[in-house]
């Protein structure tokens, strides 16, 4: 008996798993079914010119939600791969770092809409007669709104791996592959995860723009929440907007609970600071997964596979081998590389000047710069107003630990919620009361990004040392003096961190927020955002390019001259 038993696969004999496994099973099966269905729909045959069925019937919303979420997760996965590749390349090769980091810096400040019209055609040509091409274009558009900050965070993480850990990795002769999995990726993980969450929210913000694609005078609306909203706006259906908001809300809650929460809780072990003041995240799903037997078994098996790969890709020689002998370093290749970069930059600049001169004219450039100034003014005023509102509230919440932990979850959620769904309401109000769009459209820019400000202020206030708090009470600091000498300096560093994110987001949001459509009513404010949006609507490529370039200059200048300095000042002097 027992001899025969051995030949059975383990699964048949011991159909084990505990009750936690069994309870999880339906969920996993449902997930697989949904993924298969969604995937099948994505790769349908499709001819250019065909209109895809789309209706405002709310019963379709779950399906649209599935499609949109799938696109966003595929884009997120692509962004993750991209980030790791980027970080590996830039930290291993100085030549790559010199080129790729500035490029990414520029890409980061380029608004996503700019990419879309250029890339759609290429993607459609890639998969002729199939919807996959259009899907890819949409996914790529979402990717461009998610990848850059993640890549930067990974790069920062890889670069700041502590020297002693690097030395330990060398002494114990970890191969590059093992080093990546055991040292670099885990170290970069917390920052990367946080940026993934931010990217996901950022993705929602542009979901309308990425799903409703116009190419060669055709409007393709891919089934999804974004298209649903676009259609609702076209047909001025406020109820449908409300449905869409509801669906999105559910979507955000679902992936927060089923994906990010467990991931955050799991990634808690990657926190490097040994005395983290942050309270650990907890997740019911992770607790559940950790109780399962079969699922744990699968995870362990995967881990084992990874470990085995370390053996396969190990470094087979040690420091006494001739192969470890360092090559004589000459500065020549590096200098040639520098020269090549310089030449390319000069050529690009020359092309740009030539292009502007020939295609748009210098007066247009001046005009766009003036528009940029309007938008800059808006950003500054809005950050100031947001600070005025959120600092007192944030400090009050942050000083109360119990309130703070509860508030943080709520605010993270609010940050993930796409503010552009509120735009139609704004249009209605502006049109109804005949308000000045130059002023009243502005708040929309900061609607989605103000949460970062609040979030950081709370975090800053909750790390004020207790003794300092007692000292302030003891000295009976009150009123203006209390704010000037105690509270404001105490939260300044975290305020700056939040403001950098908020301002960056606001610049990007200006494209959507300064040019808002509701049916055939369009309300626009003067600014560089509305300029880019308008030119995109017309399809004037040279002017789109010009608008994007100028915005780039503004954003990078703003970062360099304002935020980076404030940040350095905060780092140097105002910390505990």
């Amino acid at each position: 008996m027992s001899e025969r038993k051995q030949f059975f696969p383990r699964l048949v004999v011991d159909a084990g798993g505990n009750r936690w496994d069994w309870a999880l099973l339906p969920m996993i099966l449902a997930l697989f079914v949904l993924l298969a269905y969604g995937g099948q729909q994505m790769a349908r045959p499709y001819q250019l010119g065909e209109t895809l069925p789309l209706s405002l019937d709310p019963t379709n919303l779950p399906y649209y939600l599935l499609r949109t979420t799938m696109r966003m997760f595929i884009a997120l996965g692509a962004s993750l791969l991209f980030s790791c590749a980027f970080a590996l390349l830039t930290t291993k090769y100085r030549a790559a770092e010199k080129v790729l980091v500035p490029i990414l810096d520029i890409l980061q400040s380029i608004p996503i809409l700019g990419f879309l019209s250029i890339t759609v055609t290429a993607f459609i040509a890639l998969f002729p007669g199939n919807l996959l091409g259009v899907e890819c274009a949409a996914i790529f558009a979402i990717f461009t709104s998610q990848a850059w900050n993640m890549a930067f965070s990974a790069y920062q993480g890889f670069r700041t791996v502590p020297a002693e850990l690097k030395e330990a990795a060398s002494v114990f002769r970890l191969s590059s592959w093992q080093r990546f999995w055991r040292l670099e990726l885990p170290f970069a993980m917390p920052g990367l995860l946080w940026n993934m969450m931010m990217s996901m929210s950022g993705g929602w913000f542009f979901v309308v723009a990425s799903e409703a694609i116009s190419v060669s005078n055709q409007n393709i609306k891919l089934p999804g929440i974004g298209s649903y909203i676009a259609l609702a706006i076209e047909q001025r259906d406020l109820l449908a907007i409300a449905w869409a908001i509801g669906a999105m809300l559910i979507g955000v809650i679902l992936y927060d609970q089923l994906f990010f929460r467990p991931l955050l809780a799991w990634a808690d072990k990657f926190r490097f600071e040994e005395s983290g003041s942050e309270t650990a995240q907890d997740s019911w799903l992770l607790a559940w997964l950790r109780r399962t037997e079969r699922m744990q078994g699968i995870a362990v098996a995967l881990g084992g596979l990874l470990e085995r790969s370390f053996g396969t890709f190990r470094q087979r020689y040690d420091g006494t081998s001739i192969r470890a002998r360092p090559q004589t370093i000459s500065g020549m290749p590096e200098r040639i590389w520098d020269a090549v970069i310089a030449a390319v930059v000069f050529y690009a600049l020359w092309t740009l000047v030539h292009f502007i001169h020939a295609e748009v004219g210098w007066s247009e450039v001046g005009r766009v710069f003036v528009l940029g100034c309007y938008t800059m003014l808006r950003v500054i005023v809005l950050i100031f107003l947001a600070a005025l509102i959120w600092i007192p509230i944030g400090v009050r919440i942050g000083m109360n630990p119990r309130l703070a932990s509860r508030a943080q979850a709520t605010i993270q959620f609010l940050a993930a919620f796409p503010a552009n769904l509120m735009f139609p309401v704004a249009v209605l109000v502006i049109v109804r009361f005949g308000l000045n769009p130059d002023i009243w459209l502005s708040p929309l820019m900061i609607l989605g990004t103000q949460w970062y400000l609040l979030f950081n202020v709370i975090a800053g206030a909750s790390t004020v040392p207790t003794e300092l708090r007692y000292a302030a009470q003891n000295l009976r600091l009150t009123g203006l003096l209390k704010w000037r000498r105690y509270l404001l300096p105490a939260i300044f560093p975290s305020f700056v961190t939040g403001a950098i994110t908020a301002s960056g987001g606001s610049w990007n949001a200006s494209i959507v927020a300064e040019y808002v459509t509701w049916g055939d009513t369009t309300v626009k404010a003067h600014g560089i955002g509305s300029y880019i949006a308008e030119m995109t609507a017309i399809g004037d490529f040279p002017r789109i390019a010009l608008g994007i370039c100028v915005m780039c200059v503004f954003v990078m200048g703003f970062n360099h001259f304002v935020w980076r300095r404030l940040y350095r000042m905060a780092e140097d002097r105002l910390h505990f």
């Binding site: 002693e164 060398s170 002494v171 002769r173 053996g311 190990r314 470094q315 002998r325």
Partner: protein
């Protein structure tokens, strides 16, 4: 009889400083690590002893000379050489067991065998039951035990220890040291030689068969002291105390300024590093020295015990005191000068004036700053000017530290003021006449 395992032959190493000029850290270092011995490297911070250790570990490559492991050149980390780090360098996301297995995993060992060896190493170092713990759950001493287990599981022929006990409290450090010595003594580990980098003199004397004393700028071996006492050694025994005294003597002669070595004393140069000693500590030691049990003359090890300062700290303070002319060093003893006596017995205001006068006379950097301020019509100068000057001779961290010490001392001596926010050094308000 002695078989060399690891040899350094006239090894030199220099680093590029911020302005691109090369700064020599090691020069012409010859060293042999033989089978069956424990060698301790002692020296003040910045003397290049850590650099030397890293060259032997294959983490840095030497600019000149060669490193030989069993007679073969070493270009990178070699099998058979393992290292224990000052701040443990554990991977915080891996459990104790996974941390210990790290090097075996890199070798491609099968997981069963790996687990068996890790288990054995963990048991040997006294961590049984903690296999599944994350490093952050452990105390400092336990963490370093993991670090040691991780190194020992590789069954290294040579074990390098980079100030392995200095991040631990005294008691924990001693326990761990004894445990390692026991493993060594009873041959429970296959390790054939241990090199310990330390700035704790007692630790070096207790562990080593040979103590090498490093001199700084550029780093080189200045003295070598064989320790022939049998193990286990007693800290309180007169032989050990004598040796510690001896090492103190060796370390203090020819530090910043040798005391009474030659009639013409070696003056401090403008671009030299300054001992990191704050004023409260300087005055504290000086007062202690003038007072009852010592009456003006103290044995450095005794003083270290009395003040509970580390060797590093005490050596900094004593070299600062000799530098300022308040004390002199003589064969491991510190002796107060008449000026020092006078200093102790005056009030605060006069003290500061005296301090200022001594600074101008003895510390070229302070005198130079003061000189610059007097000549400058606006009476203020930016610290970067001096930092740039110091970078010619010192590395970034040392330059910053020297300027910080100069500024702190100068402020106390009321020679100049300094604004932290702007980084500007300026003349004191009350001192517009500019009497130097």
């Amino acid at each position: 009889m002695t078989t060399p395992i690891l040899e350094l032959k006239s090894v030199g190493k220099s680093f590029r400083s911020a302005d691109g000029s090369a700064r020599s850290v090691l020069e012409n270092v010859d060293f042999t690590l033989n089978e069956g011995e424990i060698v301790a490297l002692l020296g003040q911070s910045g003397s290049g002893k850590s650099t030397m250790l890293r060259i032997m570990a294959g983490l840095l490559s030497a600019d000149s000379g060669e490193v030989l492991y069993h007679g073969l050149p070493v270009y990178g980390p070699a099998d058979g050489i393992s290292m224990v780090f000052q701040s443990f360098a554990l991977f915080p996301w891996l459990t104790v067991q996974k941390n210990v297995e790290l090097g075996l995993e890199a070798k491609g060992m099968a997981s069963v065998e790996r687990a068996r060896r890790a288990e054995a190493a963990i048991d040997m170092i006294g961590l049984s039951g903690f296999d599944g713990a994350l490093p952050r759950e452990l105390s400092g001493g336990m963490r370093q035990r993991v670090g040691i287990a991780r190194a020992l599981v590789m069954e290294p022929e040579v074990l390098l220890m980079d100030e392995a006990f200095s991040a631990l409290d005294v008691l924990t450090g001693e326990r761990l040291r004894e445990d390692i010595l026991e493993l060594w003594q009873t041959r429970k580990i296959p390790t054939k030689a241990i090199l310990v980098v330390s700035h704790n003199i007692e630790e070096a004397v207790m562990m080593a068969d040979r103590v090498l004393i490093f001199a700084s700028d550029p780093g080189r071996v200045r003295n070598e002291l064989p320790v022939t006492l049998s193990r286990p050694r007693e800290v309180e025994s007169s032989a050990v105390r004598g040796l510690i005294d001896n090492v103190y003597g060796m370390m203090t002669t020819g530090t910043v300024r040798p005391a009474r070595v030659t009639a013409k004393e070696v003056k401090l140069q403008l671009g030299d590093r300054l001992p990191e000693a704050d004023i409260a500590r300087l005055e504290g030691i000086l007062e202690l020295l003038a007072d009852e049990p010592f009456r003006g003359r103290a044995d450095l090890p005794k003083l270290a015990e009395e003040t509970e300062l580390t060797d590093q700290e005490l050596l900094s303070v004593s070299s600062a005191l000799t530098l300022l002319g308040f004390a002199v060093l003589d064969h491991g003893d510190i002796i107060i000068t008449p000026l020092g006596e006078q200093y102790v017995h005056t009030g605060n205001a006069e003290r500061q004036a005296m301090f200022g006068r001594q600074l101008l006379e003895n510390v070229p950097l302070v005198a130079y700053i003061r000189h610059g301020l007097l000549q400058d019509p606006s009476g203020d100068l930016h610290e970067d000017l001096f930092l740039r000057l110091l970078r010619f001779t010192l590395n970034e961290a040392d330059a910053k530290s020297a300027l910080r010490v100069a500024i702190e001392w100068g402020r106390y001596g009321e020679l100049f003021e300094y604004n932290f926010n702007t980084g500007v050094i300026n003349m004191p308000e009350s001192d517009t006449t500019g009497v130097a």
